[in-house]
Subunit: 314 residues, 2 copies
């Protein structure tokens, strides 16, 4: 059986032809050009779908479903993109529009939710019933699954775990509120922390690492820490606390089987996961009595979007 | 059809005989004496059940179900009290024990969850599909319902919304972590804020109100505020922000139909609800675009426990 998974991003639209076991048979992508009229973007999505089924000489009738993941507020029940952050999508009836081209079931979802669903079906969450995927990037995306169902909220407006409170009256967040978790624990926040530390000591190890790498990135502090730099240790240690404390909030609410961490920073791997796990074990509610949860690196990474989108239909 | 709802508290065990529409036919209570052996407490629960069905001349066979709400970590699937805060209950197989006395279905749940379920079935949440009940008391209890299902988490250890992060590295909370919402927005926290303000100005209006009332309570600042006291206005205004910001965290995750507020402080009524509503509208994620949620006073108050417990079986 064949499915299509489409991952709409601000830069590119990725598509994959996928079988029921989550094998990616073909991948292809086209530029989004996000400022265009939404109908042109949807036309390109339909053309991308045609390209993908053409690769295996399939007909439209062979498709069992098309799933589409989009960044922003998505109303899956209505099949409408309420609002997308970086793409010219406002109240776009994408399901209806795509149905002009395809007759198979079409499902849509928010990209973070879709990625979490992909991890549950085909990735690090296989076999779990509940999981939270936390993607540390420009912001913090969260996809929360309880009993195999994505937490969507009214009109698809829930699941914004990056915007839980972290520090009352703290740093201004992009959402307009102060002190959101995202403002402290996103990759962007780590980069700002690193930049600040470098500006205080422009001749230090972190500054040197940044010069070698050509920029300050989410890796800078981690690399410098491995070289034994005390300042980098401090940056990383604080960042681990920031990430962990938001996770603890989510664990206290959901107590899921698994918490998965995605985004470039998760490439720091086990060393980072272990430190987060320790703090979460220690400070989550009823630490000694309540069931432990497991913190792991997400598995699907760049393919999470297309696999998760397809998984919506499987 | 007849149901029993049992509400186990640290001081007393309340019971109610309830019909399928949520009418309370009889109520009765017995002291908990929480330090006793758990079997003695369960024996008293069974006796209370007998008393209740005796009032209507019913037989055990007439009962369609018994629901029991208990404070602490409850595993409803296993029918086990994992741990209760103020009662000598640790790994107590209460469902099995009660089944020695009754053959009808027996369901158990955490008291905050049970109360939320009661509001959904019979109270301020009638007709809603999703709601969050926030009880502002000694701590903050939260009962979260998504799509008619209580958010339980692994082993029933979820739903602890009082212990989401509020202020990084802030006040020490009873749970061992620092900066939980509960440490700022519970009724106890309000009392501490009021006491602190009074100690700074022992001749002020709040001090006077406290003397008249015989103690500092959750009402003190509200009463003084109504008298035009600037210091009380400040206390109440901060408290409203603290309560609201935790609600915003939960709204960003769940975007429910309704948020209900219970506990003594909810008696401050519409004036308080409106102020919370304003801040939640303003600062919840995507404020202008996303569906508004409604903040209301919980309805069932002291009967929430027994009605919610019975509702587990209805």
């Amino acid at each position: 059986m064949y499915y299509l998974g489409i991952d709409v991003g601000g830069m590119s639209i990725k598509g994959g032809l996928i079988d029921e076991k989550g094998n990616i048979l073909f991948k292809e992508s086209v530029p989004t050009m996000p400022e265009r009229d939404y109908k042109d973007i949807i036309e390109d999505i339909a053309a991308l779908c045609d390209t993908l089924i053409g690769k295996e000489n399939l007909k439209k009738n062979d498709l069992k479903g098309i799933g589409v993941g989009i960044p922003g507020t998505i109303d899956p029940e209505k099949g409408v993109i309420v609002y997308a952050n970086n793409i010219n999508f406002k109240k776009v009836p994408i399901k209806k529009e795509l149905s002009k081209y395809f007759t198979c079931p079409i499902k849509i979802g928010n990209d973070a939710n879709v990625a979490a669903f992909g991890e549950l079906k085909f990735g690090a969450g296989k076999g779990a019933r509940d999981l939270i995927l936390i993607t540390l990037g420009t912001g913090i995306g969260t996809g929360i699954i309880v009993d195999n169902q994505i937490i969507l909220g009214k009109g698809g407006a829930g699941g914004e775990g990056g915007h839980i409170g972290f520090k009352y009256n703290g740093k201004k967040c992009s959402c307009g509120k102060r002190g959101c978790w995202e403002a402290y624990a996103s990759a962007s926040a780590l980069i700002k922390m690193t930049e600040k530390a470098i500006s205080k000591n422009p001749l230090g190890v972190m500054a040197e690492v940044a010069r070698e790498e050509g920029k300050v990135s989410g890796k800078t502090a981690f690399i410098a820490e491995k070289k034994g730099d005390k300042e980098a240790q401090k940056v990383v240690s604080n960042y681990v606390k920031y990430v962990s404390d938001g996770i603890i909030s989510l664990v206290n609410i959901f107590r899921p089987d698994l918490v998965l961490i995605g985004g470039g920073i998760s490439n720091e791997g086990d060393a980072l996961m272990k430190r987060i796990q320790q703090r979460v074990n220690r400070f989550s509610y009823g630490g000694k009595i309540n069931p432990k949860i497991t913190i792991k690196k997400a598995l699907l990474m760049n393919d999470a979007g297309i696999l998760g989108a397809a998984a919506l239909c499987i």
